[in-house]
């Protein structure tokens, strides 16, 4: 239970949390490609929200944008780490087949995340929000976009992502 007497956490936190936690985890999971760290991201996001003065009516958009940002940052830092690990791994023995199969699936997943993280931030967030079920109006509000330009932003993101994925796949 939040203790309202200590005053530091907004009183509507629990209500918003129960309403939107699943959504926020879903946004993070789409960016990260798995549920593994999505809940960690969601926890961070709600901690920030608890200390914020964002109106409850804007919470859905605010939380979704924050989750997408946090998760994209995680993908970027993860990619840096992965490159170092790759460099180390390339010096060692070739992988046995069934392990290689698993690694391929993981690479497929990572390819999508990397491509997503390489998009302009506004595009990647609009894309993730749309595929997480937010309406065009909600996305416009959350990202401070003109209502008519959400479709264009999402479309450009999808187009770039498709090209990125195809180029990435053919260069392998």
């Amino acid at each position: 239970m939040a203790d309202p007497e200590r005053g530091a956490v907004r009183p509507d936190l629990e209500e918003v949390f129960r309403r939107d936690y699943g959504l926020v985890v879903g946004v993070a999971a789409r960016v990260l490609g798995s549920a593994d760290h999505a809940e960690d991201v969601a926890q961070e996001v709600f901690l920030s929200f608890g200390r914020s003065t964002v109106p409850a009516s804007d919470a859905r958009g605010w939380l979704s944008v924050a989750a997408a940002h946090a998760a994209l940052n995680l993908v970027r830092s993860g990619r840096r780490r992965a490159r170092r690990e790759e460099a180390v791994a390339s010096a060692s023995d070739p992988l046995v087949p069934d392990v290689a199969d698993t690694v391929l699936k993981l690479e497929e997943r990572d390819r999508v995340r990397s491509a997503l993280a390489a998009l302009p931030r506004k595009q990647s967030i609009a894309l993730v929000l749309r595929h997480s079920g937010l309406s065009y109006a909600e996305i416009a509000e959350a990202l401070d976009l003109a209502p008519g330009s959400v479709g264009t932003t999402v479309r450009r993101a999808e187009s770039s992502l498709r090209k990125e994925l195809i180029r990435d796949a053919s260069s392998r």
Binding site: M1, A2, D3, R6, A8, V9, L13, E14, F17, R18, Y21, G22, V25, G26, A29, R30, G33, S34, A35, A38, E39, A42, Q43, F46, L47, G50, V112, L116, L127, V128, R130, H131, S135, Y136, A137, G148, S149, V150, G151, T152, T153, V154, R155, A157, E158, S159, L161, R162, L165
Partner: protein, 361 residues
């Protein structure tokens, strides 16, 4: 009419109602736009598939909310937050001892639950009695001497707030003003109702037990047969600060300490002496218990001598007993004031539980 831009066509896929009717009509009759919509749809589907998570998040809302409020508190009072790593190892090693401490608080006293015949009184003080654990195991079942009936629900249940715990038990559940480092967040609240054990003494069974044990039976008071003794403990309430590991990090509990009443005029001293002379009670246990004052107000808490050491301390004017496991992993302090016992326990140092005890308000 000019062709709608790709943003509009994209929205047409998701929210056709959000696209103006003339645009919709145009697209429906325009080959070029339909072809573009087809391409946009393929890209959207590809991305939808790429972003789909293989594991749909199976969210445990209650657990997640608990985690959030726990860390929210930690963030709010950073001075109390940090050295969790150090605690974790200590906490995990002795969960059983803490669980026992919790049970002790909730039922009034472990002794009351395990060996009801010891508490023929109203508890005003507690005293630790060190037993060899082997002796404790050897203590006879009360049912060997008469009929035992338990009334009341010994189940411990969780309530949502401190106020609810206090309402349910009629006890003021004190709140610590300082928490040891490593303990933070909001506690959960638990209550247990009053539990009574009614014992009807049977001279026949005592004789049978004596015959089984091959012991000489001391002369029993004539009015003892059929005497009913009612032992009661609780209700009790406790605030439990959880730990990430799931083991309590701190317990603050309060309960109505055990009382006993009897249906005949048998005095505490008589009952005590009879019980302690019964077959099956080890001599050194009987000796230790007989040394208690005869006013029927000191609750002996059996303590395994090889694992727990005890000392006394003062908590705001009350004589308190401090329990500490010999390996230093768990400590507890308990005291009785006006028939109500308060216990502070946790995987902490004895100085830490005392500090919490003295900060209760």
């Amino acid at each position: 009419m000019r062709h709608p831009d790709e943003g509009l066509l994209r929205r047409l896929l998701d929210e056709p109602a959000g696209v103006a009717a003339p645009d919709r009509e145009h697209v429906a009759g325009c080959e070029r736009c339909l072809a573009e919509v087809g391409e946009i749809r393929r890209d959207a589907e590809l991305v939808r598939t790429a972003l789909a998570t293989d594991l749909e998040p199976d969210v445990d809302l209650t657990g997640a909310w608990h985690r959030l409020t726990t860390s929210a508190d930690g963030v709010r009072s950073p001075s109390a937050a940090t050295p969790i790593g150090r605690r974790r190892g200590r906490t995990l090693r002795r969960p059983v001892v803490v669980a026992v401490a919790a049970a002790l608080v909730m039922t009034g006293a472990g002794a009351a639950a395990a060996n009801g015949w010891l508490e023929i009184f109203r508890t005003e003080r507690i005293a630790a009695v060190s037993f060899d654990p082997a002796d404790l195991n050897a203590l006879p079942d009360l049912a060997a001497y008469g009929d035992v009936a338990v009334t009341g629900d010994p189940e411990i249940r969780e309530v949502t707030t401190r106020a609810a715990a206090e309402t349910a038990t009629g006890l003021g559940l004190p709140e610590p003003t300082t928490l040891p480092s490593g303990v933070d967040g909001a506690p959960t609240y638990h209550v247990a109702d009053e539990v009574s054990v009614t014992f009807t003494f049977s001279a026949d069974r005592v004789e049978a037990a004596a015959a089984d044990a091959g012991e000489e039976l001391p002369p029993l008071p004539a009015d003892l047969d059929g005497t009913r003794v009612r032992l009661s403990a609780g209700p009790g309430a406790a605030a439990v600060w959880p730990h990430a590991s799931g083991v309590p990090a701190l317990i603050v509990g309060r309960a109505v300490a055990p009382t006993a009443s009897s249906t005949s005029g048998v005095t505490f001293e008589t009952m005590r002496d009879v019980l302690l002379s019964l077959p099956g009670v080890p001599d050194d246990v009987a000796r230790a218990l007989r040394t208690f004052n005869a006013d029927g107000s000191t609750l002996p808490l059996p303590v395994p001598a090889d694992q727990v050491e005890t000392s006394s301390a003062d908590v705001d004017g009350d004589d308190a007993t401090v329990f500490r496991t010999r390996d230093g992993t768990v400590a507890a302090v308990a005291w009785v004031d006006d028939g109500v016992m308060t216990v502070v326990a946790g995987p902490l140092g004895d100085d830490e539980v005392l500090a919490v005890a003295r900060s209760l308000e």
